[in-house]
């Protein structure tokens, strides 16, 4: 009986270890309640290195910088009304693996249904007087959901590595350079609205994302957004109930380049 019990314990321990490894060492996925409407999840950054910064301070700073940038930059293009408001949510107990492996189909479906557009996972490394390094993973939920559903296209995980400019690990200054979140939120909004047949919000989101994504952006993402912009436009123009300005656009050029 004793031996059997030890065997069960060992089995459970191995199972737990296997689950932990499969979801990335140290990864923690907990619920992150947020308000109704579109959301961006900011997960608590994980830290490494022997010069451990005050993670609570950095987490608050990241939230503060993004939230105030939303006020500054997004107010002009968010769709009006309650459905258009986008909230940053600090997920204080949530630390998914930086490689994105936690974001499997069931979790992504859950996030999609909760109107999460982007989840940002961050891992920070600071050692001695050397420059700090931040690994950031942007999970664009509607893109990843589409990837699982269609079994092709970009996987919706976009990673970037940033290094602080000075010798000190000044992560606050580094966070100020994280502008990509704007593009990914626009992309997420555009993809989700396109799938829901909300033509105008979709076209705005897709075209805004395409207008701001730089040359270093994922080619697969640009291709997906371009294809969806065409499909969305064609659907709008084929829909007899739709009488709006999208009828004026040429489906071969759904996001016209307005400058020479």
């Amino acid at each position: 009986m004793y031996c059997r019990s030890r065997g069960v314990q060992l089995f459970v321990a191995i199972l737990a270890l296997g689950l932990m490894l499969s979801s990335g060492a140290g990864a923690t996925i907990t619920d992150c309640p947020g308000p109704v409407g579109f959301k961006v999840y900011l997960d608590k950054p994980s830290i490494a290195g022997n010069q451990v910064p005050d993670i609570e301070f950095l987490f608050n700073e990241l939230y503060f910088l993004f939230d105030e940038r939303k006020e500054r930059e997004w107010v002009e293009w968010l769709p009006s009304g309650d459905a258009g408001s986008i909230t940053f949510v600090q997920c204080k107990q949530r630390q998914p693996s930086i490689d994105g492996s936690d974001f499997d189909s069931p979790l992504v479906d859950l996030l999609y249904n909760e109107d999460v557009l982007v989840e940002l996972v961050a891992s920070l490394h600071a050692s001695g007087n050397s420059a700090g390094v931040a690994h950031l993973s942007f999970v664009v939920v509607p893109v990843r959901q589409l990837h699982f559903e269609k079994s092709n296209g970009p996987d919706g995980l976009f990673r970037t590595r940033l290094t602080t400019s000075g010798a000190q690990a000044d992560f606050v200054e580094l966070f100020k350079r994280v502008r990509r979140i704007d593009h990914y939120v626009a992309a997420g909004l555009g993809v989700k609205a396109a799938r829901q047949g909300d033509y105008e919000v979709a076209q705005g989101g897709l075209c805004r994302s395409l207008a701001t994504l730089g040359n270093d952006a994922s080619r697969a993402l640009i291709d997906l957004l371009s294809v969806l912009a065409v499909q969305n436009l064609v659907s709008a123009q084929a829909d007899n109930r739709y009488k709006g300005p999208l009828l004026l656009l040429d489906s071969t050029q759904p996001c016209p380049k307005g400058l020479p």
């Binding site: 700073e61 002009e76 076209q203 705005g204 207008a211 004026l248 656009l249 307005g258 400058l259």
Partner: protein
């Protein structure tokens, strides 16, 4: 009103030795500064442009009330700096608001209260902000809202067709509310703000930092007003309206704490004031001096671009370019002579804020003017159409872009051309389609 009667400062030196160096402001050029409680704000009605500065609020933990004190001091320093930099536009006023213990200072309430006071056509810049502390760092973030009394901020021009109809195009500014990037300050900066505040609010008999001075009268519960009659190298000679105090105050001290470098938004606020001054036109007999104002706005925007960092808001940068373009147009003798230069600024704005639909709509005005006023090149008309369609793709709700597109097609319909931008049947189809969509929206 017994306060201050015994503390009057007379300035024999100021009127004599420095007369040659100081810029003497003629009496009709209303330049004034004042203060008031938040619940009872006022404007200088004779000034073409007023800047009103609210106390910067602490929006986080505040150990020992240091930030709250610094926030109020910073507001006064900004008031003085803004007034100092605006004097060149003439006919300007700056008011600092103070919150008392009973009530806070809310920008929306203040704006509502001031709305009824703005002389039609005159400009107002409301400036407020917040301080935020984390560990050893303090962040200061400035917000600004600008407007003119009973006028909307938009660029508008008309084209007369061959049929004598007037075709009017409108482009609202991308924004009149700006939130600048947070700037990082240290606690040394905060201390310096307090020191500079104490220095700046001393009224001295001469523009000499070593001269003894009296504290500027600023009762938090009562409004006060001073007229500025002379300026000299960062100093202003102020006269209290009831004659209880006069003398020199040091409004700008770049060598001690360079406020303009720490907060480059002040340079953009300077440019906004110039833009408003130009649009206000003649005020109380003071002309707006278009070419001088345009040159000053250009310098202010150059300074803003030089000092604002890479984290600056894209829409603030684009607004700077838009204002630069509009001031070029506004100050030029004709649209034709300035459109090329202004067009570069509008294109720059579109590059700075590529997803902003209002910037795209504004940028479309340049090729329309080029086509209609400079040459008949169909490429310009096609380019304008393309820009307006871009604006609509970025935001299908942009009704003004839709109206401009309809107006442009309508204008092209009546304008005979050897090389039309669109074949007549195609043009007719497009115009009918836009018109139908616009009617659906109406």
């Amino acid at each position: 009103m017994s306060r201050g009667l015994g503390t009057r400062i007379r300035t024999a030196l100021a009127g004599t030795v420095l007369a040659a160096l100081a810029i003497i402001i003629a009496p009709e050029r209303a330049i004034a500064m004042g203060g008031a409680p938040c619940e009872d704000p006022f404007l200088f009605s004779s000034a073409a442009v007023n800047a009103v500065v609210l106390p910067f609020r602490n929006s986080g933990p505040d150990h020992g009330g240091q930030l709250s004190e610094a926030g109020a001091s910073l507001a006064t320093l900004m008031q003085l700096e803004v007034l100092m930099s605006l004097i060149k536009y003439q006919s300007v006023g700056a008011v600092v608001l103070r919150e008392n213990e009973r009530e806070g200072c809310d920008a929306v309430k203040v704006l509502k209260s001031l709305n009824g006071q703005i002389v039609p056509g005159h400009g107002l810049i409301l400036i407020w902000g917040r301080l935020y502390e984390q560990e050893d760092q303090v962040y200061v973030q400035t917000y600004a809202r600008f407007l003119r009394g009973k006028h909307s901020e938009e660029f508008e021009f008309g084209l007369t067709g061959n049929n004598d109809n007037l075709y009017t195009f409108k482009a609202p500014l991308p924004t009149t509310s700006l939130a600048f990037a947070p700037r990082r300050l240290s606690y040394d900066d905060i201390e310096q703000i307090k020191v500079e505040f104490r220095e700046a609010t001393l009224v001295r008999p001469s523009p000499d930092p070593d001269a003894d001075g009296e504290v500027l009268h600023q009762d938090p519960d009562l409004p006060f007003a001073y007229t500025v009659t002379r300026v000299h190298d960062g100093w202003m000679y102020v006269n209290e309206r009831n004659g209880i105090q006069e003398g020199w105050i040091r409004a700008r001290n770049e060598s001690a704490w360079p406020l303009r470098r720490k907060m480059p938004e002040l340079a953009l606020i300077d440019a906004i004031a110039g833009y408003l001054r130009l649009r206000a036109g003649e005020a109380q007999g003071v002309p707006s001096a278009p070419s001088a104002t345009a040159a000053n706005v250009r310098r202010a925007i150059e300074m803003y671009r030089e000092y604002s960092g890479e984290e600056e808001s894209a829409i603030a940068e684009a607004t700077a370019s838009v204002l630069q373009g509009l001031v070029i147009l506004e100050s030029a003798p004709s649209l034709e002579s300035a459109i090329e230069e202004a067009s570069k600024e509008f294109s720059r704005a579109a590059e700075q804020a590529p997803s902003d639909t209002l910037v795209r709509n504004l940028a479309a005005m340049s090729p329309i003017i080029r086509y209609a006023r400079i040459n008949d090149n169909p490429k310009h008309a096609q380019e304008a159409v393309q820009m307006l369609l871009t604006a609509l793709s970025l935001d299908p709700d942009n009704t003004q872009a839709l109206i401009n597109l309809e107006t442009l097609y309508d204008y092209l319909r009546q304008r005979p051309s050897d090389s039309p931008a669109f074949a007549p049947s195609e043009l007719e189809r497009r115009w009918e389609q836009v018109k139908t969509i616009r009617l659906n929206i109406d």
